[in-house]
Amino acid sequence: MAALSSPIRVCRGILKELRVIQGPTYKRSLAYSYVMDQFRKNKVTGERYCRAQQEAHHDSHTYLCLLGSTRSHLALHKLYHGKGDRSREEVAALVGLRLPSQPGGKGWEK
């Protein structure tokens, strides 16, 4: 069995991700109530629910991973890949060159 962090940590992690996504009003969202509901239902409380606890635990862990990885991926995407091609000036600057600021220098004499 895969080593997963404890359910309460997973639950907190998911709620944290939801807060990042939805801002301060996240407690009113659908996902918040569903996640809380599921975590409360699948607590081991005198075997009242027959659903395997590990099953729900694994799924919640997977969901946490999905939310966290998507956030990190988007952040990296924005940082490194989100801008499209570099402009001509930037490309020139990369190799330490500067474009002529205005025509009229050498080669433009009449």
Binding site: L30, A31, Y34, R51, T70
Partner: protein, 284 residues
């Protein structure tokens, strides 16, 4: 870039192709699906779900119903999946980043079925990966990588061989290991119990991890997503340890792979489960 290619292809396709109806149908799909890299402005405020005909869940953006790229009404088979999709739509800030909405994408694929295949063909396509499974291919050198692959991959291989009572084996030859027909038959039989939606998700996970063994290990909850992704990228991780980590390539790839794999796994679990709550009789 792909978008511009499709746009370029459009006029030529229509002129050159004698079979116009079929091409335009394909192009319609191609153009619609090519919008995956395009970022559209967020055009709605509220996202909510509602239960429609046949108990299927629908997504509402303000008061409009969400549709698939193929033009069908978007429906999800259960509440959990619908909430997952709704959260994705809610998470978009100013522009819609379709490439980050993996659950939505998977639902769309399952609903539209753009490749037009049936379950049997999907199972065959998934099992094809077994012949070239990542964790069955081993290297001969360097010694430390050989050891690493043996230590990390062998336990998973042994686990799946015990669990399904099959032989897979590993090999360092370029032809890979000989996988007996009985093994494939066992897996085929196992996959037959999956419905169309789960198979869509499973095939997605297999193509992401490039491994049937790791995908099944994760779907059977033997591995967590992080472990499966780590094992799938084992050689890359080894090289990273040797040469250093480059954030905009290695981390970027890893997070994307993790997000995709997690979405696929969750999709399989949510679309194959039928949750019933049984209450025990009160005993006084």
């Amino acid at each position: 870039m792909f978008r511009s290619l499709v746009k370029l292809r459009c006029p030529f396709g229509n002129i050159l192709s004698p079979n116009k109806v079929c091409t335009s149908q394909h192009l319609r799909f191609a153009v619609k699906y090519s919008s995956a890299t395009e970022e559209r402005k967020r055009f709605y405020q509220d996202v909510s779900i509602s239960q429609g005909e046949g108990g299927l869940y629908e997504i509402n953006l303000d008061r409009k119903k969400l549709k698939t790229p193929g033009g069908k009404l978007f429906t999800a088979p259960n509440e959990a999946l619908a909430i997952g999709v709704a959260t994705e739509w809610d998470a978009q800030k100013d522009t819609l980043k379709y490439y980050s909405m993996h659950l939505t994408t998977l639902c769309n694929t399952a609903l539209d079925n753009p490749t037009g295949r049936n379950e049997k063909q999907m199972i065959s396509a998934a099992l094809k990966f077994l012949d070239t499974d990542t964790i069955c291919y081993r290297v001969d050198e360097p010694h430390s990588l050989v050891e690493l692959q043996k230590n990390e991959w062998d336990p998973v291989l042994h686990w799946i061989e015990d669990r399904y009572n099959v032989t897979i084996g590993s090999s360092s030859s370029i032809l890979g290991p000989e996988i007996p027909k009985a093994t494939k038959d066992t897996f085929r039989q196992h996959l037959n119990s999956y419905n169309f939606w789960s198979l869509t998700g499973l095939e997605f996970v297999i193509t992401q991890l490039k491994s049937v063994v790791l995908a099944i290990g994760m779907i059977d909850r033997h591995l967590s997503v992080e472990q499966a992704v780590l094992l799938s990228r084992l050689e890359e991780e080894y090289q990273i340890q040797h040469w250093g980590n480059v954030e905009w390539v290695h981390d970027y790839d890893m997070y994307e792979l993790r997000a995709r794999t997690a979405a696929g796994a969750l999709f399989v679990h949510l679309s194959s489960e039928s949750s019933t709550v049984k209450r025990k009789l009160m005993q006084d």
